[in-house]
Assembly symmetry: C2
Homo-oligomer: 365 residues x 2
C-alpha cells in the first residue's frame, strides 16, 4: 500500500475517524485506524457502537490495507510540517510516513480481522443541512439523562413524521425539543445514544452543505461529503413526551434572553447548586424579580418583562433554567408557567423551532 | 465602610489579590480578602508566603474595613454588569454589592485579626521594566526543581552585582539563566519560591512600565503602579552554578530555533518520555540528524546547521531540550556541546541575555 496526500487533509481524516476508536481495548487492532487504498483512500474507526469512514483525497495510490495505532499515528501526523505526506507499507507491516525532512517508521497490524462497518439498508432517508442538524443536537443534547437504569433516556429521540423532523431529549427534570421541516414524506423513530450525538455534533461543519440521515432497524447512518458515520440505536420505546407538555398556562412572560440569563447566573452564585436554596422568580406588574436567600448571603435582581395572566412565585434549580437559556440564540423568548408547582415551558416568540420544559422546585416558604 | 468603583477595576483588583489568598484555610479569615477604605481603597490577600496589596480607584469613600470571602466575593464581582459598583458594609458585617439592577448581600468578617503585610526596609532596590522581569521569569521558571528535599532549588536565585541583574533556576538535569543590565550599583542575592514567581509572572503586564524590586533580609518586595507584592525568601545558600558551566566545547552549531524545536517535538512522539529511548543528535557535515529508535517505531529528521569543531553523537531527554527551546524568541541559537557525555549549552547568537544548560543521556549503544 502506498499513497500521497496533504498533511491538512490527513489530519482532518484522522481527527474525525479517531472519534470512533477506543482509547483502550483488549485487542490492539481495536485501538487502530484501518487504512485502505484502492481507487481512493479510506480511513475507518470502529468501536461497534459508533463507526466512522472517511474518504481521503490522495494520489499515486498503490492498493493495499493496514491498521495503525490510532494514538501514535495521530500524534505523528498532527506534528508533521504542512506539506505532502507519503505513506507506505513496507515488509512486516511496518508503515513509513515521510514529509519533507521528517521520516517515521511505525509498526502496523495486518488489516485482516478488522471489523468492517455494516452495510445499511436505505429504508427511510431525509436530507437536511449540517447547520440545522448541528443546532438541533446542540439545543437538545444537554437534557439527555445519564441514568444508566433508564437507558432509553441516555439518548435522543429522532423522529420524522408529517413533514417534520424533530430531536428530543429528556431526563426526570427537563425536556428539550428542536424541530425542522423536511421535504421527504417519511416516517421513522429512532433513539441515538448521547455519546454518539456528541461526536456527530463535533464532526458537523458550520455549513449549509447537506447531510443525509438514513434509519434502518438497528442503525442510523449520517452521510456527509467525505464522511459516513454509523451509530447504533438504543433499544426500547421512548416516552410519550408530548403528553407531559401542559396545554394551559397561568402566567406567560416575554423576556430578553441575555437579561434573564445573566440575572439567573448571578443569583446562582449565591445558591451554588445547593438544592435547599432554589432561585425564586416573582412575576408581577410587568416585572420579573429574581431572588435568592442562602447561608452565604442573598441576592435580588429586577428585569422588565411583558406579562400576561396572574402574578406568580415559583422556584427553580438555576442550572436547569441556564442549560436551556444558554442554547437559545434569539433575543427574546416566551416563558409559560402552568402553575407554581407544574412544568414551565420556554418557546420562541414566534414559530415552534424549539421548546424547553423545566420542572420547578418546591419552596420551603 | 462604603465606596463606588468601576466593575472592571474591581475585577482586576480581586483577581490579583486572590493569587495570595488560600483556597482552604483553618481560619475563615485567611480565605478572605481584606478591604480597607480610607483616603483610598486597598484590597489585600495574604497567605504569609505571599502577600499582595492592590490600590483600587474609588469614589464616595466612607472609611472602614472588612474581610469578605474571596471565592464568593470574586465570583459575584466577575458576574456583575459592566457598570459602577457600590460596596457598603451594613450591620453585623453584612456587605452589600449593588450594580445596576443587581443587588447582593454577603456575610463579611471583622477585619480585626487580619494579618497585615509586613513593612519592608528599603535596603537594596533596583528598577527594571515589567516586560523584562516577565521575560526573565518565563525563561527560567521551568528549570525550578520540585524536589522538596532540596528546598533551595524549588526557587529561583535573583542576583544583582556589577551592574547586572540575573535570575537562575536549576534542578539536577538542567539550568536556566537570564540577565539584564541595571543602572543601580547594588549587590544582593535572594532565592524566591517558584510558586510565588509563577503568580508574579501572571500579575506582570506586557508593558514597559517600571517595577521596583526591593530585597530585605527575609522578604522581597515587587512594586508596580497599583500593586505591591511581598514574597518570602527561601533560606540557605544557592549552588555556585557558574562552576557547572563548561568553558571548552568540542562542537558548536548555529541552528534555526523553529526547525530544531519541531524536529525534536516530532522525534519525542516516538520516545514519549521513555528514558530508555533518548533522542539522538548526530552532528556532521553541517547537518544535524535527529533520530529515535524505540519499541513503537523509529524516526529520522535532518536539519541544516552551521557547525564548528568535531563530529558528535549525543543523546538527550527530549523534554529537557524542548523546555529551553520553547522560551526562546530568537530565530537562531548557538548550541555548544562540551562532549557527548558532558553538559551542553544553548546561547543567543550574540550577547549573553540567556543561557540554558542541559545534561545529556548516556546511550546504550
Amino acid at each position: 500500500m502506498k499513497f500521497v496526500c496533504s498533511k491538512q487533509d490527513l489530519v482532518e481524516a484522522v481527527t474525525i475517524v479517531q472519534k470512533a476508536v477506543m482509547a483502550k481495548a483488549t485487542l490492539p487492532i481495536l485501538e487502530g485506524i484501518y487504512i485502505e487504498a484502492g481507487d481512493k483512500v479510506k480511513l475507518v474507526g470502529n468501536c461497534f457502537d459508533l463507526g466512522i469512514e472517511y474518504n481521503l483525497q490522495a494520489d499515486d495510490i498503490e492498493a493495499g490495507s493496514i491498521v495503525v495505532n490510532s494514538r501514535i499515528f495521530g500524534d505523528i501526523v498532527r506534528r508533521l510540517p504542512d506539506s505532502e505526506v507519503f505513506i507506505q507499507v513496507k515488509d512486516n507491516f511496518v508503515v513509513s510516513i515521510e514529509c519533507l525532512n521528517s521520516y517515521f517508521e511505525i509498526k502496523g497490524l495486518s488489516a485482516e480481522g478488522y471489523p468492517m462497518l455494516p452495510e445499511i439498508d436505505e429504508e427511510s432517508k431525509i436530507v437536511i443541512s449540517q447547520n440545522t442538524l448541528r443546532d438541533m443536537i446542540r439545543k437538545t443534547i444537554y437534557a439527555i439523562s445519564d441514568d444508566e437504569n433508564r437507558r432509553i433516556l441516555t439518548g435522543s429521540l429522532m423522529e420524522a413524521a408529517d413533514g417534520d423532523f424533530s430531536v428530543v431529549s429528556l431526563d426526570g427534570f427537563r425536556l428539550a425539543y428542536a424541530k425542522t421541516i423536511i421535504k421527504e414524506d417519511v416516517s421513522f423513530k429512532a433513539v441515538i445514544p448521547g455519546k454518539n450525538l456528541n461526536e456527530i455534533q463535533k464532526i458537523l461543519e458550520t455549513t449549509d452543505k447537506e447531510i443525509k440521515i438514513t434509519l434502518s432497524k438497528n442503525q442510523a447512518l449520517f452521510e456527509m461529503d467525505n464522511c459516513r458515520v454509523i451509530s447504533s440505536l438504543l433499544d426500547g420505546e421512548y416516552m410519550n413526551y408530548r403528553s407531559f407538555i401542559p396545554e394551559q398556562y397561568e402566567t406567560v412572560i416575554e423576556v430578553n434572553v441575555r437579561e434573564i440569563t445573566e440575572g439567573i447566573e448571578r443569583a446562582s452564585l449565591i445558591t451554588s447548586d445547593d438544592k435547599r436554596f432554589p432561585v425564586k422568580l416573582n412575576i408581577a406588574d410587568n416585572k420579573l424579580l429574581i431572588t435568592t436567600n442562602a447561608e452565604v448571603g442573598a441576592s435580588k435582581e429586577e428585569i422588565e418583562v411583558e406579562m400576561d395572566g396572574n402574578d406568580l412565585t415559583i422556584g427553580f434549580n438555576p442550572r436547569y433554567l441556564l442549560d436551556s437559556l444558554k442554547v437559545i440564540d434569539d433575543e427574546n423568548i416566551v416563558i409559560s408557567f402552568s402553575s407554581s408547582i407544574g412544568p414551565s415551558v420556554i418557546k420562541p416568540v414566534s414559530g415552534d423551532k424549539y421548546l424547553f420544559m423545566v420542572l420547578p422546585v418546591r419552596m420551603s416558604n
